[in-house]
Amino acid sequence: MTSIHVDALVVGGGIAGLQTAVDLADQGFQVAVVEREPSVGGKMITLSKVFPTLDCASCITTPKMAATAHHPNIQLFTYCEVQSIRKQGAGSVATVSQKPRFVDTAKCTGCRLCEYACPITVPNTFDSNLGTYRAIRVPFPTAVPQTAVLDPANCLFCGKCEKACPVDAIDFGQKAETFSISATAVILATGFKLTPIGAKKEYQGGKLQNVIDPMMMERLLAPTGPYGRILRPGDGKEPMSIAYVQCAGSRDVTLGVEYCSRVCCMYAIKQAMLLNGALPLADVTIYYMDIRTFGKGYEQFYQNAKAMGVTFLRGKVAAIREDEHQNPVVKVELTEEGRVEERTHDLVVLSLGMLPGEDLSLDLGLKRSSDGFVNSPAPNARPNETDQPGIFVTGTAMGPMDIVDSIVTASGAAAAASAYIREFGKSPAAVAEESEAQKESVYA
């Protein structure tokens, strides 16, 4: 089994993991990033635009993805699963499994000829299954690395891709390989899971076609999205009345989720504003309990949405059913007017929340808090630390938070890990000099 030694191992290549990796690598540390998916970028790369600046998500994410890939001190391991992490002295050793891509990464140029040759069409998970892609493909246009991946569950092994590949990179015989990474510090940046759309039975999510999750709406709104316009999935109709059901996965003890997911108010308002631009004649209604626009510039964002004509109605939606035209009908107690109403919309978006992501305990004996996220033993003293020395946590693995907060906690985790590595590992000076020397020689 090959073994790699680095100063820091970052588990998860979403925005938080990438930021931590770049910050540590900029200090001269050797960093390994392990990402389960075939590309880094995490959830953020699938978003359309991001609040409160309304920058396109890829404008922020792709350069960070590229910066990670190009950094001389960072090694990226995509399509790799961390199987276990064990403490060993001050450091840790991770056993990592490289899943087979069935494509030789050293040869593949990302030309996509295999993709064009492949006859099998499968739902596009990058597009929240709204569109389709091929059984072999570059995961999405801005993926890092630009390397094709074959999905063996759907592949017929017809060999068309093999014939199409100009560099002979297709390798049907590839097998999973296991290797180990030993690191002085480990940073868990494993992110979150979206509340399953069917979690709240009363909302019939997953059963009613025109009740969708917010990630689907992100893809519908994205310029690179599946349809290039906003169409409801049930019948392809352009929705003229769209509703957001807030707290559809949060602040709900019947779901066992007591906490607030922090991002749903802002993403619903953002999507409402973007819908206002995409479908100027459509009505957008947001059903809410409390509007929690607490971040820098967020309250102003909320007030702008109100001024744009987005309707905010206070009331927790009790149930959703469907009328004979497949239109979702929302039953809600309008608490400010004191009546229960049934209101019909063309499309309903459930503002689902954040659930803890992967099982992080990974033989590390990390405790989880009652909310299911990794326990933070000293939130007001050492927020990035866990119950184990040398194991740090960042981003939504720490609990629900938005992108701005994830990026700040990611740099915070880099500071905490850096101090730990300096104390228990090697000094970065030697590495820094090395990379400096490389830098000098770059200029032609």
């Binding site: 910050d23 001269g28 350069p63 310029p223 409390d290 990035n384 990611a410």
Partner: protein, 677 residues
């Protein structure tokens, strides 16, 4: 037309027009722009991409440089502030000098500015691109200015954020100087009791943090110290510091404190108590030595053991050179105007910070008392000084309203409700809010607990805030709070209470002098402004000046700590190598044109030491000429305009380049197309 300075090498320009994920292509016809640019002189390739800044887009540029021999690159995309560096990096990787890259803003300048005029926007984009092209033809390879950097950071502010930043910087092998304006460390957190969500005592958290900082050998702390001047640049900021004296030695302290009779209202307790002008801020404060409140000390001698002792403030000023500055000057709680919800007029109206101090000071007693009167019923009003609406709420002294959410007050209010209920279970609490924003991890629990504890929640509209007034004589309660309650469908409810607590928000502090000295900017909310909330969330636009904590906006303790650690990580990356690189956009004197006469350039220069006239021997002849010190020059161009001989240019932004750009912009569209042929 200006002379082409690189005529010896064939110009091969690559032009790239970015869709910006639809941000640009939604308005501008990018393909049309690319096509027009492709026809221009020297253009080897003209391409578009959905996202030029992505790995794929960057690879496109790198490939063209390597395979097509492209030697000048222009990208039309977002504002240069976002991705100019990204593309300079890409051309560098392909072996080209980074300054042979030119960035054209097509998003902020075009598509966002003219969303309803696609034809006009496309026309403008073509003009800006052709101007970019004109400049690209005249680009010279440049080298960044490399300077040694002090591996030493200055932290301004000794609250939780400043302390955390200092600790993290020291642990990342940097020397740290921490300045605190007051005589004691701890800042606003020292005024708190228990903190949410884990109910840790704030003073305990602080003392652990302070001890950790003090234990770092590379940290030097100055209390009663402030900055009076800043010069220099990243890597080498020269900071003038003024420090007041402690005024008394530890062995005299107790006797002097006993002898001191002069008392002032104690700002630490928000005026609830008085303290002597010789004082320790709180039990267990750090440093533990008593200090003199020089601002209020009347100068009268104190009688100790039969001697008369005069206390003197020995002010000293000194200078320090640091590589970077962490600004952690914190916030001020909002002080309501006199009459705002009865504040300052009714004795029964106080702020949440005052209540928190009151609970900390009066640890015993079965019932809550305020001004000696038993409190049976209390109303807590949220969003005082926060979420204000222009045109409805009265503007503050600077003419602005606080239209932001202060983020901490909901959780802090419900934390206080929890403590009140625990200590005074019979107390009636009314909570008047717009929205309950207990967003943080473990904060929602505070809300659930308050509901379980019988706190009565009422809800108002921002447009129609509650009112507070004195009750009529004979009423059972001294104060009446009126609210149009949205939870009872707009019913006008009148609540009689003994005490009204205003959950005041966070205000940016009056640090105008510091802001000017550091040349950083404030946002529309008047807190200090970061470069970009996602790309560079703790850095200011001034290289080497970073933000930590509530100086940037409302945050709770945990968020302040994280921001401070993030700031430390940025400084560590910046200074860790012991040197920094500055962009080469500085003044350059053309030796042949400089006459060395009346130094108009030196007189026009607004930065100290950026340009000077020097006399030296050259080829056996004595010559006098202007000389630029690159590290001090910001490339502002004042000297360029002042020089009567046209001898000065800003590297990378020369007059010749400007002329070429203006010429290109001034062309009519058909001419532009004509010029292409």
């Amino acid at each position: 037309m200006p002379e082409n300075k690189v005529a010896d090498k064939e110009l091969r320009i690559g032009v790239y027009t970015c869709y910006c994920g639809g941000n640009i292509s939604g308005v501008v016809n990018c393909d049309q722009v690319a096509e027009a640019m492709g026809k221009q002189a020297n253009v080897i390739c003209s391409r578009t991409d959905i996202s030029m800044c992505s790995s794929v887009g960057q690879a496109l540029i790198e490939k063209d440089i390597k395979e097509l021999g492209v030697n000048r690159v222009i990208v039309g995309a977002c504002a240069p502030a976002l991705h100019e560096q990204t593309f300079r990096g890409a051309v560098t990787r392909a072996g080209l000098n980074p300054f042979l890259y030119n960035h054209v803003g097509l998003r902020e300048q075009v598509s966002w500015a003219h969303p309803h005029d696609p034809v006009g926007a496309t026309d403008k984009a073509m003009h800006l691109m052709s101007a970019g092209l004109a400049k690209a033809r005249l680009l010279d390879p440049l080298e960044p200015i490399r300077l040694d950097a002090k591996k030493h950071a200055l932290v301004i502010g000794g609250g939780v954020a400043g302390l955390r930043a200092a600790l993290d910087l020291a642990r990342q092998d940097l020397a740290v100087t921490l300045l605190e304006k007051s005589p004691f460390l701890g800042g606003r957190a020292a005024q708190l009791g228990r903190t949410f969500p884990n109910q840790d005592e704030a003073t305990k958290l602080l003392s652990e943090l302070t001890q950790a900082v003090v234990a770092q050998p590379s940290v030097t702390i100055y209390t009663q110290a402030e900055i009076i001047g800043v010069t220099g640049y990243v890597g080498n900021y020269v900071v003038q510091i003024r420090q007041h004296g402690r005024g008394l030695s530890d062995h005299q302290a107790e006797k002097l404190m006993a002898a001191c009779k002069q008392e002032v209202s104690d700002p630490f307790d928000y005026g609830l108590t008085k303290r002597k002008v010789i004082y320790r801020q709180y039990e267990g404060c750090s440093p533990a030595s008593a200090a003199v409140d020089w601002e209020h000390y009347d100068g009268a001698p104190l009688q100790v053991d039969g001697y008369s002792v005069q206390l003197n403030d020995e002010v000293r000023e000194f200078e320090l050179t640091v590589g970077a500055v962490v600004v952690a000057t914190g916030f001020d709680p909002y002080t309501p105007r006199t009459g705002e919800y009865g504040y300052g007029e009714l004795a029964e109206v106080a702020t949440l910070p005052q209540l928190i101090r009151h609970l900390a000071i009066h640890k015993d007693g079965d019932g809550l008392e305020w001004n000696g009167n038993a409190v049976r019923s209390l109303a807590l009003i949220h969003c005082v000084g926060s979420r204000e609406i222009e045109g409805i709420d009265q503007p503050h002294a600077d003419g602005q309203v606080n239209n932001y959410c202060s983020r901490v007050c909901c959780s802090a209010s419900l934390q206080a409700c929890g403590e009140l209920h625990e200590r005074f279970p019979k107390l009636n609490i009314y909570d008047l809010h717009q929205d309950i924003r207990t967003y943080g991890r473990g904060h929602e629990k505070l809300y659930y607990n308050a509901l379980e504890n019988g706190v009565r929640f009422l809800r108002f509209n921002g447009e129609e805030r509650p009112t507070v007034q004195a009750a009529s004589e004979g009423d059972p309660y001294p104060v009446l709070v009126r609210i149009n309650d949205r939870l009872t469908y707009g019913e006008e409810i009148e609540i009689g209470v003994d005490l009204v607590i205003l959950a005041v928000g966070m205000m940016p502090r009056d640090i105008d002098d510091l802001v000017k000295m550091l040349k950083v900017s404030r946002g529309s909310d008047r807190f200090l402004l970061e470069v970009h909330p996602k790309l560079r969330p703790v850095e200011t636009a001034v290289n080497g000046i970073v933000l930590a904590g509530t100086v940037q906006g409302p945050m709770n303790i945990q968020e302040s700590l994280l921001a401070a650690s993030a700031a430390a990580a940025k400084v560590s990356s910046l200074l860790g190598k012991g040197r920094v690189e500055l962009p080469p956009f500085v003044a350059r004197v053309n030796a042949e044109l400089c006459q060395g006469g009346k130094p108009a350039c030196v007189e026009s220069c607004i930065y100290e030491g950026a340009i000077a006239q020097r006399t030296f021997i050259e080829n056996g002849k004595e010559v006098t000429r202007a000389v630029v010190t690159a590290a001090n020059c910001t490339g502002c161009g004042a000297c360029v305009a002042a020089c009567p001989h046209g001898a000065i240019d800003i590297q990378g932004w020369t007059l010749g380049q400007y002329e070429a750009m203006v010429d290109a912009i001034a062309l009519e569209l058909p001419e532009l197309q004509e010029a292409a042929k």
